[in-house]
Subunit: 492 residues, 2 copies
């Protein structure tokens, strides 16, 4: 297995290379002085070219061919499969196209900031058009190489083995379920009194609270950090996982929700199998799986009544923060309030999938050449009206609200809701197998929960597709039924 | 000039590569969670191999030969000279030897920590012996390549174009001057009352004070940062210069001295010529020149009476810190107190050179094969006795106090005192050309000072040797006379 061992060495170096980029990215968002942006971009471009040259090389192609003839263990065969996937992906895209997308994305993102500020789509429409055309080229190439439709190929960049027609069916079903439900829930909640949080909590204390809970949940501060950034994320490198949050003194627990979301991502990364650390098969699976881990912690756990009991006690006993608005009951109501929002990132878990479905449907039509770029604002507003029965008044609250498209990310949005459905399906199984979970959570004991996730999800890394893991763990491929049951239980 | 342009591209990439390593080093000392050490070492080894492979390549050797035949501008010729120096250095050392030195250094440094703690030289003596033998191999190779003695070759690693016999003469002269002087100064200072600082200053405020003064002196926080680490340093990357300090609440201005030292280093890095940013000739010259810039700010400026007036006013008016011990007169006395110390890093600017001379003399004899490793403690103590007329009681206060040798750094120590002499020589000229400097400093105006340094030193980067810059600026090569005058003026 000479060739396979050589491949392992090459991919090990590629992983170290991308770990370095991970630290530089983290630094860029948390620590870097503002005038270093240009040279940081150069550093990252240098590393990404190194990585591309390593993985896309003729040598790797030959080694893969030879390794396939070698006698390998089962896990090594999985690893070789992932090596080939990465190689095929890298080699299929001309480096010129990759660099052009990267350049135009940077330009487009800059224009988008101004466009959103002024709520003027025209500022960015030409460059967005250019960027979409480049993405169409990419999608076409990837579709041919991976034998699927162009748009499916884009989704597969973020969550391998996705199936577009299956996702379409699931989302349609979900839309039919949610649209009438939302008005019912909003109506029901009207009669429930909710108190706004009346106490400001300073940043230092918010951070202490977050760190205390992260620690209880199992985040290992010897292999990770919590810092501040404008946009929260989970990044860093293998065995050095760094999450960020932002603090709002007026809305003192909003930061905690974000921290718990990122902690879900971080636990996944921290629990990946050590012995496969720098190999393709040892990496986290894809964005849908990743999002299932963050949402399971943020939604199923942190917004549960049991968690609010734990939190309310903790705030009172350890941080001397109490009062009626910090009662577990009120915290629970605050965390499960449903309302129709223009803005995706401000929306609750019930309306959230509709925001995703809107974007998913538009992306499908864009990559089917059914929508011209100039028509995006009108189509967006029409679709929003259909889903929420509300008129959008300005594009900054419509098609200009999210950075994704303007940063060249198409096919990413659906993974958010696939993650939510996956989370609900795992959580259902988890609660069956851990009947005392709520009791644990109330008492601040999270180890049964995190062990379950570690064994059933995290340790499986990229050995299987997300759907295969779902089947192993829940005896069912992805099924929206679990999400619906969960919503019904919590909100009706 | 095809070949030269190709070289520029290669060295540009090597510089980006080492900038990345600079950020990773900074992160390791300031931010990195503790269990990431091993993989950070791997990341740094990966980058340093990349850099070595780039610069030591056959291709670079050929390009240099060809570029020498091309018609180049004067500055490009200087750049080519520095490229060749770096290439010769990289190519001359077998990568095996480099990696072995790096490995044994890491081992030796670990053992040294225990040895220093227990004040037991035997714990580290075998590994130190191994490390010295490896360094002797390195020195022999470099001496042959650069046509000088082995020990001179080591000094040249840190300060190119150094001359060993010249340094020996200068240090001997300095020793003869300082040894009798120290007792005279100590005697004189006995009659002067000095108050210890009676107010504790919390870390947050110490940092605010430091940042305020750094800003006044011209440190650009849009291209740099101040953070905390166990050992203070100046690091980061091109245009992103990051200094660190440590805080001692009981000794509230000790941190500021360190910050000013590192700020001196940082100003040098920040003022290097932008248009040569990623080329060998655009880098800072060497450690003696670097140390001259840090010491000029720390000693000539920060410990001056004028600066203490500025500082005392600033503390009173902006930070509400006052009292007799914070009077400018007392601050000045505190900053110029002379005493015989066992420990180099705790010593004042008058006794400091003797600590260096001791180490320099020992290094010379070690690399002349005149001292066996096992004899180092005895020889150290004898030499110390000769210089200070005090007996050393334990090796932790003698030959085990500094990490340098145990980290494989031989030839580094002399650059500290060469820097001090160079600083005094620059400062003499500077004060002649800026007769109102003290007035400026008292009023917190540092721009004339920093502009002078920028034009006369920083912008010259590696276009000339340190000695050539001294000659250009002061019409004299390095001469200890200026340092002696400065010490006489301040202390007698």
């Amino acid at each position: 297995m000479n060739s396979y061992l050589k491949l392992k060495k090459i991919f090990n170096e590629a992983s170290i290379n991308s770990d370095i980029a991970g630290i530089l990215h983290w630094d860029m968002s948390t620590m870097m002085p503002e005038f270093s942006r240009k040279q940081r971009a150069e550093q990252l471009a240098y590393l990404s070219k190194l990585s591309h040259d390593k993985i896309a090389s003729r040598e790797v192609a030959d080694l893969i061919l030879n390794a396939k003839k070698e006698k390998l263990e089962k896990k090594d065969i999985s690893n070789l499969r992932e090596m080939e996937r990465e190689h095929k992906f890298s080699v299929s895209l001309p480096i010129d196209l990759v660099q052009q997308i990267s350049r135009i994305s940077a330009k487009c993102e800059g224009e988008w900031q101004e466009a959103r500020e002024k709520s003027d789509f025209k500022i960015v429409s030409n460059t967005l058009n250019e960027l979409i055309n480049l993405n169409k080229q990419e999608a076409k190439i990837l579709g041919e190489v991976f034998n699927c439709s162009p748009y499916e190929a884009l989704i597969n960049k973020f969550e391998p083995s996705s199936n577009l027609s299956f996702i379409s069916d699931v989302f349609e079903d979900l839309q039919n379920y949610l649209t009438p439900l939302i008005d019912i829930i909003i109506d029901k909640q009207k009669s429930e009194a909710v108190l706004p949080l009346h106490t400001k909590i300073d940043e230092f204390t918010q951070k202490k609270i977050a760190e205390h809970i992260m620690n209880s949940v199992g985040f290992d501060f010897k292999r990770g950090r919590l810092d501040k950034s404008i946009h929260p994320f989970c990044g860093g490198s293998t065995n050095d996982v760094r999450i960020t949050t932002r603090y709002n003194i007026e809305n003192p627990l909003s930061s905690l929700d974000g921290v718990m979301h990122e902690t879900g991502h971080a636990l996944y990364e921290l629990n990946l199998p050590e012995e496969w650390a720098h190999q393709p098969v040892g990496k986290s699976r894809g964005m849908a799986m990743h999002e299932s881990q963050s949402l399971l912690i943020e939604m199923q756990i942190t917004r549960s009544l049991a968690f609010k009991k734990y939190l309310s006690d903790l705030l009172k006993n350890k941080f001397k923060i109490s009062g009626e608005s910090f009662s577990f009951d009120n915290l629970y109501k605050l965390g499960t309030r449903v309302k129709k929002s223009y803005i995706r990132v401000e929306s609750d878990e019930v309306t959230y999938p509709l925001h995703i479905i809107l974007r998913f449907n538009l992306e499908k039509r864009i990559f089917n050449n059914e929508i011209k770029v100039d028509d995006i604002p009108v189509v967006w507003n029409d679709e929003y009206k259909k889903l929420f029965n509300i008129n959008i008044k300005k594009d900054s609250e419509g098609c200009l609200q999210d950075v994704h498209w303007y940063a060249g990310l198409f096919g990413y949005f659906p993974t958010y809701s696939l993650g939510a459905l996956t989370a609900a399906q795992f959580a259902n199984k988890l609660r069956n197998e851990l009947p005392l979970l709520d009791n644990d959570i109330e008492n601040g004991h999270f180890s049964n929960l995190t062990n379950w996730l570690k064994i059933n999800v995290h340790k499986k890394a990229s050995f299987y597709s997300t759907n295969a893991v779902l089947e192993q763990v829940t005896n069912s491929s992805l099924n929206a039924k679990y999400f619906k049951d969960y919503i019904n239980n919590r909100y009706l």
